[in-house]
Amino acid sequence: MKIGAIGIRTKMIVGDAATWYLVKKYVDRKVGGGIEDVPEELKKYVRVLDSWVDVTEDLESISNKVDKVDGKGLSTEDYTTAEKSKVANMPLNTNAELGFKVDKVDGKGLSTEDYTTAEKSKVANMPLNTNAELGFKVDKVAGSSLVPDTEIDKLAEYPEFENLEFSHANLTDKNSEAAFQHVNTTVTKETLDEADKVALYDSVTGKVVLTHKSNLETDLTTVNQEITNLQNEVSLLDAVQSAKIKDIENVLSTANLNQSAQLSVSGVSPISLPKNAANGGMSVKLEGLTEDVGGVITHFEPTGRVRSVGKNGLNPTALYLTAPELRSNGLVKDEIRKGANGYELVKRVGVGTLGGEIINQANILEGFVTLNAGILGTTITTTGPGGGRRKAPFLDTSKWYKITLNYTADANWEIRAFATQPLIGLAPGLTAGTNVNLVAFIQSSDGGIYFRNAYSGRVITINSMSIKEVSTQDVIAIGSTFSEFGSNIHYDLATPTIAPISYGGILNSAENGTVYHEPIIADAGVYDTKMDILLTDYPIATIEEIIKHENGVDTYLDVSTAVIAGDGLSFTHPDLADGDLVLFTYAFDKESTNGNITASFYDSNVVKIDTITGKAYKITDVVTNGVLTRTLTEV
């Protein structure tokens, strides 16, 4: 027992709780009973053992326990992994999901057709027993309708339809027997029953006749064909009439009611000559035209060639001109015409120079008495008795200015220079009105111009104002009409100037010919390593023709092998040598407007052209006492 106790003690010292538990069991089995039966020397060990056993049992018991949760207890079923997987695959709220399902009913299934609200509404509007309701209806027949018995009874009153005869006159009176008493045409039931029959009313006889539809179709085809033929005839007639009208227009356009020897046609190049243009001498007149071409002030460049050709472009004749630009000012035009001594320049347009715009937008008018402020676009009012004035102080003393105004004013306004009021093209008094335009020349005598009104309370609004300086010389030359082109002012000269120009060549008119102006210059010279041009203001753009004149023979050279100098003032050619006489024509490139050309020619209906001299003669026949006298008069 002592040895065992030592062993137990040793175990107690080094063992674990399980060992202690075994010792306790051993002691219990050996000793039996309670602590009272244990020898005294072992009691303390037994007590230790008991405390250890209690602790061990408590620990063992605790390890087999789970925390208590209110409302939960141990399950009698084992919750397996498979079941847990099933739970994971279930919806969050199975009952809710089931609420969205319908109970299965034997013999029923899902419908392949969607039963819509609209259909449901239709069903709601159906009778309770549709078949029964249909039983109360009659089948519909096209063209038939239900007729009240009273109307059917009336039918019995009508005569038999067989062998009816009726006229159109009473067809509208459907309820009248009279409709059937105007017998003209026999219409039987059988004939009406025949297919494709139509009834026609003959407006001449007043009868209704039956005919087969095919007859009408044939008639319609015939009518259509006749209409087409008629349209073709009308078109042809129109063409013929148009040609005749054109001929008449041509005749009228060249009508020479006074039987003048010469006629004229005018227009921009090219111009056409009439049929009665004689094959004889012709002269031309060129008129100036000034235009703003893309911001560049451009005039008519007359230098070049006026060419006249026959109706097939044959028998060309040409007139070469060298002259300054021809200008216009909206009213008058410079012109080149054939005078008594040949072609001459008639200058009608004077050219002045305008200074830049002189406008102080901030305050176009400043100054002194009895006027409120005056700036562009605002109203100036005379505030004091006796009126007032306002000056434009930014003008130099004694210089001339062109002033362009747009104003709205009441009566008695004046624009003037302070002292001498030297106005050109402008009366001192301004015309009263709204948006009045005014252009005038004015000399600023003391550094300003004035708007003045002698009455109080008068108003004027300067809507726009342009002031440009102009030379005294130009002001003196400027007449009543002028136009502004860029920095230039074009005015009509009080006295046109006439000066001869350089020209050469002969122009002939031709029946139905064409006259046109082109920038082609003729030139000639002696070759000296190169061929210089005469008119250096008109450099070569392209060469039209090169002729080597040798021993009285003209040899035309290939222009494609000519080399034009970079400045266009000369060219070389491999077939030319120093000392060769060269005749050539070339085109130049210079901006020009298309001025007017007037061609004057002889009327072949009035004059005859001498086939040798080219002179024109008018033939006059006079019969005296039965004797014909024919007289030739040169025209």
């Binding site: 040409a318 350089s502 060549g505 002969i506």
Partner: protein
């Protein structure tokens, strides 16, 4: 030769008197005649004026 070329050669000859000597004889004759005609016309016009 076309009259226009005679006129042009006459204008050139007015600027360069050596040109006439470079021209073929028949052309020179025409140009000289043209120059004389122009001078005569100018003289006639002056007398009229």
């Amino acid at each position: 030769m076309n009259e226009i070329y005679i006129k042009i050669l006459a204008e050139r000859a007015e600027q360069d008197r050596t040109l006439l000597a470079k021209l073929p004889e028949e052309v020179r004759t025409e140009v000289e005649k043209y120059i004389e005609d122009v001078k005569q016309t100018d003289t006639d016009n002056e007398q009229i004026l």
